[in-house]
């Protein structure tokens, strides 16, 4: 299926946003779209990766970290967010947790006729839970990440950042925020 998303999303740019917002822990279950993000985080010493066995653990662990004075985010795939529904209800929305949730938007193609039901149901699912969200498809959209942090803090509620593309691989030896690649 033709993908209508132009541009690329470099994980180092997202990592830079996390550092800028003082994120301490990245609670995650890796998925197919975020492998390069995981690699980029391994190179960032100020952020601790917290791997989980199932997505439903991510929000409760983040809640515990926040209670202890840390500043976590979570990163799970849309399919995993569905599994984590009761945790989102009870320990995200229910306690008023200011949490930015990076959600892999598996199957997203901007056409709307994706064969992947994980994509079909993501935005209706977020609406159902009354979770505000921003979609990030490329480096050009990264100004939405600070909006998510601000909104979570102001409302004391979880806010989603739906990552609508696979993180790009970083050129070997690259350091600092990556620039948009010409022709992408």
């Amino acid at each position: 299926m033709h993908n209508l998303i132009n541009g690329v999303l470099h994980p180092k740019n997202v990592v830079a946003q996390l550092v800028q917002h003082g994120v301490s822990h990245y609670v995650t279950l890796p998925d197919s779209e975020t492998a390069n993000m995981y690699e980029a985080l391994l190179a960032e010493p100020s952020i601790t990766i917290v791997p989980v066995a199932r997505e439903g653990e991510a929000i409760p662990i983040a809640a515990g970290l926040f209670v202890a004075g840390k500043n976590p985010v979570i990163s799970i795939q849309n399919a995993g967010l569905f599994e984590a529904g009761d945790a989102l209800r009870g320990l995200g929305l229910g306690i008023g947790l200011p949490l930015v949730m990076f959600i892999g938007y598996r199957g997203h193609n901007r056409k709307g006729d994706t064969p992947d039901s994980a994509a079909t149901f993501l935005e209706p699912y977020l609406h159902m839970w009354r979770v505000e969200y921003f979609v990030v498809e490329s480096n050009d959209d990264l100004d939405r990440v600070p909006l998510a942090f601000d909104l979570a803090r102001k409302t004391n509620q979880p806010v989603a950042v739906a990552i609508g593309t696979e993180y790009a691989s970083e050129p070997a030896g690259a350091s600092g925020p990556a620039q948009e690649e010409a022709g992408q």
Binding site: R54, G56, I61, G64, G90
Partner: protein, 202 residues
């Protein structure tokens, strides 16, 4: 077999200034004996997630012991958390499982596998040590030593089931307890009262 009341009394005698994260029936008994109520969190309205919340607190405040008073029915719903805890290996996490073989709060129906040995399961996942007690004297004697050694540790307690006939307390006031407790605990741990209201209960 051990009673909830005895188990909670013995654990509290050794807790010091540890954070406690409780769930289900043991929350009721813990609240009666707790010597540090502003270090207590009772996970209600989020069944099965006590072990994960406790893990987060333990990782966030590694200098303070964290006691998770979990139950068998709850842990079965979040069994993968054993592997997550073992992998992260927080030295300050002590994971108690009250094993009564039933879903007490819903009237006493049996869990799918009442014979699960949670201590062995935790050990197989990679907990630093695991213990199983079915008499209060042994628990009372061993607990101070267990809590003086690094975690993660599993302490399985075989308890006498107490099926509830009262149902689950679901009022606005009861559901507000958890968010209020979490805010009080954050203030105690960080010294900062900076987590404002949010969500449906406060």
């Amino acid at each position: 077999m051990i009673t909830y009341a005895d188990a909670c009394r013995v654990i509290n005698e050794s807790r010091g200034e540890a954070v406690s994260v409780t769930t289900m029936t043991q929350t009721k008994y813990w609240n009666r004996v707790s010597s540090e109520p502003d270090l207590d969190v009772g996970i209600a309205n989020a069944m099965s997630k006590a072990s994960s919340v406790a893990l987060g607190i333990a990782l966030g405040d590694p200098g303070r012991p964290v006691l998770c008073l979990d139950s068998d029915g709850s842990l079965l719903m979040n069994f993968g958390s054993l592997a997550t805890i073992a992998g992260l290996a927080p030295k300050n996490l002590y994971h108690f499982v009250f094993n009564n073989g039933i879903y007490a709060v819903t009237g006493g129906q049996p869990v799918p596998a009442p014979g699960v040995d949670y201590a062995r399961a935790a050990e197989a996942c990679g907990y630093r040590s695991a213990h199983r007690f079915d008499d209060i004297e042994s628990l009372d004697t061993a607990l101070p030593v267990i809590l003086s050694n690094p975690g993660p540790v599993m302490i399985e307690i075989i308890v006498k089931g107490e099926p509830s006939t009262e149902g689950v307390d679901q009022t606005w006031e009861s559901n507000a307890r958890l968010p209020l407790q979490l805010r009080a605990l954050r203030t105690r741990l960080t010294g900062s009262d900076d987590w404002g209201p949010g969500g449906p209960y406060i």
